[in-house]
């Protein structure tokens, strides 16, 4: 289960940068460690990202990104 969620999250966020921002990775880890309770969250994260890739993101999400 943990491996499944890990792979899912690895697919979602792909940009790697050198400097460290406290906590982004640590926040994602909480989904991975959440186990079964977190499967829904992981899938939803993936689904949102997929929609964004295909230009189907919701209007407010697009606004957020431009802000």
């Amino acid at each position: 289960m943990r491996i499944f969620i890990t792979v899912l999250l690895m697919l979602i966020f792909t940009d790697a940068v050198a400097y460290l921002d406290p906590g982004t990775g640590s926040m994602l880890l909480q989904v991975i460690l959440g186990g079964i309770a977190a499967v829904g969250v992981a899938i939803k994260l993936y689904w949102h990202k997929l929609r964004a890739w295909f230009g189907m993101a919701k209007k407010e999400e697009t606004e957020d990104e431009s802000a």
Binding site: S26, M27, A37
Partner: protein, 475 residues
């Protein structure tokens, strides 16, 4: 009333919503409008009341404008003020033993669990928010409690790892003392450092794979991500149940961490002292008499070992701070159910003591700034200071004279086998290590009131009181 009488706590600057002030042995905390509002909501909650009643959170009350003795210009800076019960002696995680840090970690997790279950959260997770009062960990940073924002992850998770979990891992899994790591960096052992310290084989130890290795991988990969992960998590349905799952798993993990405090040079010392039981009783009696006569409030027992003389002092005074270089000995003192509650056991190396450091070198202070001894016990220590740590005897006595007005010091002669052992493989450059030298140095600062010879004269105890100096012309 002037501002100089109220002292701002130099370590309380991080949270913009409050600040701690010390005033005549009392502790106050100014709060911003939103922080005050949160505090008032918190105090209505039964879970919080229970935490205070059980001594897990420091006794705190909101004080009115009239009750507030702080200067007006300070009062004007904040929407309101709290008063906290004072903590007898402030201590830091790099002075604690493994079990003390573990107890503090368990308290932190308990508070997170209680808070999240009741619609609150803790905005950080640092052991500096926890103090030991009567040998139990107590949480002192009330404004750390905030209203839970649904969908937010556990914001203190990473900090918990770096300041509690990784140091505990180091002790439990690597057998290396965690204190130097906590003293090396004010934010603890960061994720990348932990990842470098724990090798491939360590990944199979409980909790290392996920909290160290995976966290460091994710941290490297997404650390600079432009994604707003917080809002992504929220819209994906991250919820408080998920935090609770993680906190409860962490509680189980911490509970299982063990360090066996054995194998130290000094941890067994009290069972193997090289003098007779009769001498031992006389030594105890001498110390008890001195303390009863001098009536100190606070006693420091430096080089306390497993604390047999600390216990005598604790029966006759209000607070004993017992320090030793040896983690194992101090751990035993902390864990011993017979240790009185007014003993605070701390790991401390006299030759490399807790420094003033952090922001402006004032955020964390040396032990002398946090506790002023009225009497110092310095028993069977001087040979370690002079011979092992190479500190000149005159300097050591000079330091003691600056620290305390009353002193009980034990001389261990060169004929004593402990001293012989220390000198066995060392060139004897310690001409200053003699009874005559000690007495002469003591007399420069102190008046020797009483003396007791034990162990056929190989060991002597001196009870000293500082001379009142009248000569101020040297300045």
């Amino acid at each position: 009333m002037t501002n100089s009488m109220a002292e701002v706590n130099a370590g309380s600057f991080r949270d913009r919503d409050g600040r701690v002030y010390h005033f005549e042995d009392r502790v106050f905390r100014g709060l911003s409008e939103p922080a005050l509002e949160t505090y008032r909501k918190l105090t209505e909650k039964p879970f919080y009341k229970k935490l205070v009643e059980s001594g897990k959170v420091i006794g705190t009350r909101e004080i009115s404008e009239e009750e507030n003795p702080l200067p007006d210009d300070l009062k004007a800076q904040w929407a309101g003020f709290l008063e906290h019960d004072p903590v007898p002696v402030i201590s830091y995680p790099y002075e604690w033993t493994f079990s003390m840090l573990k107890a503090a970690a368990s308290l932190q997790l308990h508070l997170v669990e209680r808070a999240i279950s009741n619609g609150f959260a803790l905005k950080d997770a640092t052991p500096y928010n926890i103090q030991f009062v009567n040998r139990k960990p107590v949480f002192i940073d009330i404004p750390s409690f905030e209203i839970l924002q649904e969908g937010e992850p556990w914001s203190g998770y990473r900090q918990f790892c770096e300041m509690f979990l990784f140091p505990l891992f180091l002790q439990a899994y690597k057998g290396t003392n965690f204190q130097p790591f906590m003293r090396a960096a004010i934010n603890g052992v960061d994720v990348q450092a932990a990842s470098a310290l724990f090798g491939f084989r360590d990944r199979f130890r409980k909790g290392v794979m996920s909290h160290v290795w995976l966290q460091s991988k994710l941290d490297r990969r997404y650390g600079g991500s432009s994604e707003n992960v917080r809002s992504s998590l929220k819209s994906a349905g991250f919820n408080r149940e998920l935090i609770l799952v993680n906190v409860r798993k962490m509680q189980k993990l911490v509970k299982k961490l063990e360090w066996e405090a054995t194998g130290s040079e000094w941890g067994d010392y009290s069972e193997f002292h090289n003098y007779s039981d009769d001498d031992h009783v006389r030594k105890e009696e001498f110390i008890r008499n001195t303390i009863v006569t001098e009536q100190p409030k606070t006693v420091w027992d430096i080089g306390c070992n497993t604390g047999q003389f600390s216990r005598i002092a604790a029966a006759e005074c209000s607070q004993v701070v017992s320090t030793d270089i040896d983690h194992v000995a101090v751990e035993r003192l902390y864990l011993n159910p017979e240790t009185p509650e007014n003993i605070l056991p701390l790991v401390q190396n006299l030759a490399d003591p807790s420094p003033n450091w952090g922001w402006r070198n004032r955020e964390r202070t040396d032990l002398q700034t946090r506790s002023k001894p009225d009497l110092v016990l310095c028993l069977a220590l001087i040979h370690h200071v002079v011979i092992t740590a190479n500190i000149p005897l005159a300097e050591f006595i000079d330091w003691l004279a600056g620290l305390t007005d009353k002193l009980v010091i034990e001389y261990v002669s060169r004929r004593d086998d402990k001293v012989e052992t220390l000198l066995r493989n060392k060139e004897d450059k310690y001409k200053d290590y003699s009874r005559e030298s000690l007495e002469a140095n003591l007399k420069q600062h102190f008046e020797i009131r009483r003396q007791l010879d034990v162990n056929n004269g190989d060991r002597s105890l001196y009870s000293c009181v500082k001379r009142v100096t009248v000569d101020n012309t040297k300045e």
